[in-house]
Amino acid sequence: MLRYAALRLLATIPTLFLVAVIVFGLIRLVPGDPASIMIGDSADPDMIEQVRKSLGLDKPVLVQFFVWLGNLLEGDFGRSITTGEDILPAMLTRLRVTAGVVLASIVVALLFALPAGIYAAWRQNSRVDFAIVTGVIVALSVPSFWVGILLMLVFGVNLHWLPVVGYVSIGDDFINGVRYLILPVAALVMVEMGTVARMTRSSTIEVLRLDYITHARAKGAPESRVLWKHAFPNAFAPTLTVIGLLLGHMLGGVAVIETVFTLPGLGRFLVDAISSRDYPVIQGCLLLVALIRVMVNLLVDLLYPLFDPRVRL
């Protein structure tokens, strides 16, 4: 298993290299030049040329790429063109914010969605099942930023229970940190619950049809045992894949939610960098996002044998 993990990590190197090439190339295809955005359209061409030179943008693209790659290998992501920040620490600070919101929301979502999905499958076509399925469709159809704005209106503006905008790190002030997290987490939970509950329901329905479930009943096992001991571990494996995809997707930044709640997260960092054509930041962020995805997938694959012993690593 350790060997397998090591090999998988090795196999990520070509993936990340490809991502680096694509990101680097694509960004340069987007119209708009960082230098002219920095000093404004009216600046005189000589000045723009000077700024380009100082940023190293006057060199051939291939040279730029290998300089960037060389620095990356030394752990240097470069500095932001617009703010001059060192990119790696800046990204990590913002990733912490995003990860806090996303992980908290996933945990909450699983607590509700797994039992709901299993119950709906067990009582398929009953009224409760119908209600859960309807809830899932609603949760998946309503955009999360709209839910976010509604939550802000009700709990922030009208009731004054929770702060509306801003962010306080849990590390600095736990109570306040949690208060600032509640609304963004709640806005994200909707979509996650919808996805997980739907997957759990359908895979549990599949499993409940199988012979070993009937056999468990024929042994005289009570229903709760049939569901949790026999059905759940088998139904959870496909759900785990979906959770992995969801997690990888969201850890890369939930830009919309971060914008609505003005959280200093990775997603907003990336979006801001794109609008100012901050090449090094964009490249760094996208590479980090790719790395996160790869790691989450690896983690899911390593967890798989726990639920499905047929999978050998």
Binding site: T214, H215, R217, A218, G220, A221, H230
Partner: protein, 576 residues
């Protein structure tokens, strides 16, 4: 003697799409005495499985018991509350299912699954349960019973899993075992082994068995009493001697008449012509690897296989699952690649034959439910291959319709969809799809294994009629020896990817030499017409005969072999 189980006038129904209810069991009655082995026979859809499910109160969703009574040990089960029923399940009445691959929970170790019903129904300590589990696995001759407990189902073969399954069900010493086609999915040798073990353990425990099966040979050799069902009704009920071997009921007689037997359909009318297919020293490998840079693990599917088929001849390939018989068919059809050796069709290597050769070789598959595209009408399914031939467009539809008639369907089937047809009709469509191409060779891979015995007899007759009419050669792949005995001219026995014996039908069935062929033949109980009327069970008990010239048979399938000829056309594998 008082009865253990009495079912009286049981009616079970399911809702129909039209809103009505369809009775799948109609006023059925049967009784089982303590310790008795009771066979329940019928074709698919006869309601036999539903009876077993109704006893445990585990009907599939939508199923409802509309009337009758089920008394177990003097207690009425119908109307019993769930909690009391749950206490009977597993403890007093156990059940095993057909499919060993899906009836054990893949996520739990064997030990936990074995212990479950004892833990639920008794106050025994964990150590005591563990001890009994090991004893029970040992009774089912599982190697290393103690080590089995911590292993998972996927680590065992189908036959092993079914033994584990039986061990787990019999562990609480139930008074009644409901066994629903427990060995149908297993190879013949394994089937015999599992049934023998189950019968002997049940005898020791005094457990009665309700054995649900479509296999009359199994019923005749293991059961005391038998009940025959059709369309939800019990037709016949009594001792095996009286019901099965001297039947008075026309349906039971029809079932027995449908059993495949040698010489069915009269002597062959066409002569076997020149060689059509020659397979020389064929070797096929499967490769598997996890990362693209790793060297693949090679699994050998076939090794050193030589066979040939003449024009108009039927060559049967027999072997258990994993013996390579399907791979042989696929390689001949050009669907799998040979690692070495040659496949010559009419003198041309198959891989060089291209599309023209493809249309001269056609295939028929086992499962008539998954081999037809559900979105295509029958006419399109059958006519598809003609697009690659020089049959003019205008004549194709007429040819397809004619072919549908040739295979025993009607022209009206042209516009139907596969789901509108029964399993037997679908298999006829699959055959029509092959026949319409007017191939020279048809590869039929277990073409009747998924069919009921009466339908099977019709399809086998069809194969024969088509051969007489069009002069096809068949490569007939089957694990079912009875079927092979009926259809084949020559037989090849495959074991672990090698030919172990080859000969004419009569040589193989009357004078088998290789220990594996002998084991296969003695594992199958045959019901044959008795000379004085009625039927009798024939079990071949074949002694081991050593090969000639001081040669010896090999035990390990991987060791090198020589094929030696002991009679014209009769060859056996011996140690090299």
């Amino acid at each position: 003697m008082s009865k253990l189980l009495t079912i009286d006038g049981l009616t079970v129904s399911f809702p129909t799409p039209a809103g009505g209810r369809n009775e799948v069991v109609k006023r059925a009655s049967l009784t089982i005495a303590p310790g008795e082995v009771h066979g329940l026979v019928g074709e698919s859809g006869s309601g036999k499985t539903m009876i077993a499910r109704a006893i445990l109160g585990l009907l599939p969703p939508g199923g409802r018991i509309d009337g009758g009574s089920i008394k177990f040990d003097g207690q009425e089960l119908l109307g019993l509350d769930n909690e009391s029923l749950r206490k009977l399940r597993g403890a007093r009445i156990g059940m095993v299912f057909q499919e060993p691959l899906t009836s054990l929970n893949p996520a739990l170790p064997i030990g936990k699954q074995l212990a479950e019903s004892l833990a639920l129904h008794s106050d025994l300590s964990d150590a005591e349960i563990r001890k009994r589990s090991i004893e029970m696995l040992a009774a089912f001759r599982m190697p290393d019973p103690e080590g089995c407990l911590s292993r998972y189902p996927h680590e065992f073969s189908g036959g092993m899993r079914q033994r584990i399954m039986l061990a787990s069900v019999l562990l609480p010493r139930p008074a009644l075992l409901l066994a629903d086609e427990p060995t149908t999915a297993l190879d013949v040798l394994v089937q015999k082994q599992v049934l023998d073990l189950a019968a002997s353990v049940c005898r020791d425990l005094g457990t009665a068995i309700l054995l649900i099966t479509h296999d009359l040979g199994v019923v005749a050799s293991y059961c005391d009493q038998v009940t025959v069902m059709r369309y939800g009704e019990v037709l016949n009920d009594g001792s095996v001697e009286q019901i099965l071997l001297n039947p008075s009921d026309p349906y039971t007689r029809k079932l027995l008449d449908s059993l495949p037997k040698r010489g069915e359909g009269g002597p062959r009318t066409t002569a076997i012509g020149d060689e059509l297919l020659r397979v020389e020293n064929l070797e096929v490998h499967f490769k598997k690897r996890r990362f693209f840079w790793q060297t693949p693990i090679v699994k050998r599917a076939l090794a050193g296989v030589d066979v040939s088929i003449g024009k108009g001849e039927t060559l049967a390939v027999v072997g258990e699952s994993g013996s390579g018989k399907t791979t042989l068919g696929r390689t001949v059809a050009g669907l799998a690649k040979a690692a070495s050796g040659r496949v010559l069709f009419d003198g041309t290597p198959v891989e060089q034959g291209g599309r023209a050769l493809r249309s001269r070789v056609q295939m028929v598959f086992q499962d008539p439910f998954s081999s037809l595209d559900p979105r295509w009408r029958i006419g399109r399914v059958v006519g598809e291959g003609l697009r690659h031939t020089d049959v003019p467009k205008a004549e194709r539809a007429a040819l397809v319709r004619q072919t549908l008639v040739d295979v025993g369907l009607t022209e009206q089937h042209y516009d139907r969809f596969p789901h509108e047809l029964s399993g037997g009709q679908r298999q006829r469509v699959a055959i029509a799809r092959a026949v319409v191409m007017r191939p020279e060779l048809i590869i039929a891979d277990e073409p009747v294994s998924a069919l009921d015995v009466t339908v099977q007899a019709q399809i086998l007759a069809l194969f024969r009629d088509l051969q007489v009419k069009f002069g096809f050669s068949y490569l007939f792949i089957s694990h079912h020896l009875g079927v092979v005995e009926q259809v084949s001219d020559r037989v090849v026995v495959l074991y672990q990817g090698r030919v172990v014996e080859e000969g004419t039908r009569d040589q193989i069935f009357d004078d088998p030499r290789h220990p594996y062929t002998r084991a296969l033949l003695s594992a199958v109980p045959d019901i044959r017409p008795a000379p004085g009327g009625g039927w009798h069970v024939e079990v071949r008990d074949l002694e081991r005969v050593p090969p000639p010239d001081g040669r010896s048979f090999i035990e390990d399938g991987l060791a090198p072999v020589d094929l030696i000829e002991i009679a014209p056309g009769h060859r056996i594998a011996v140690a090299a």
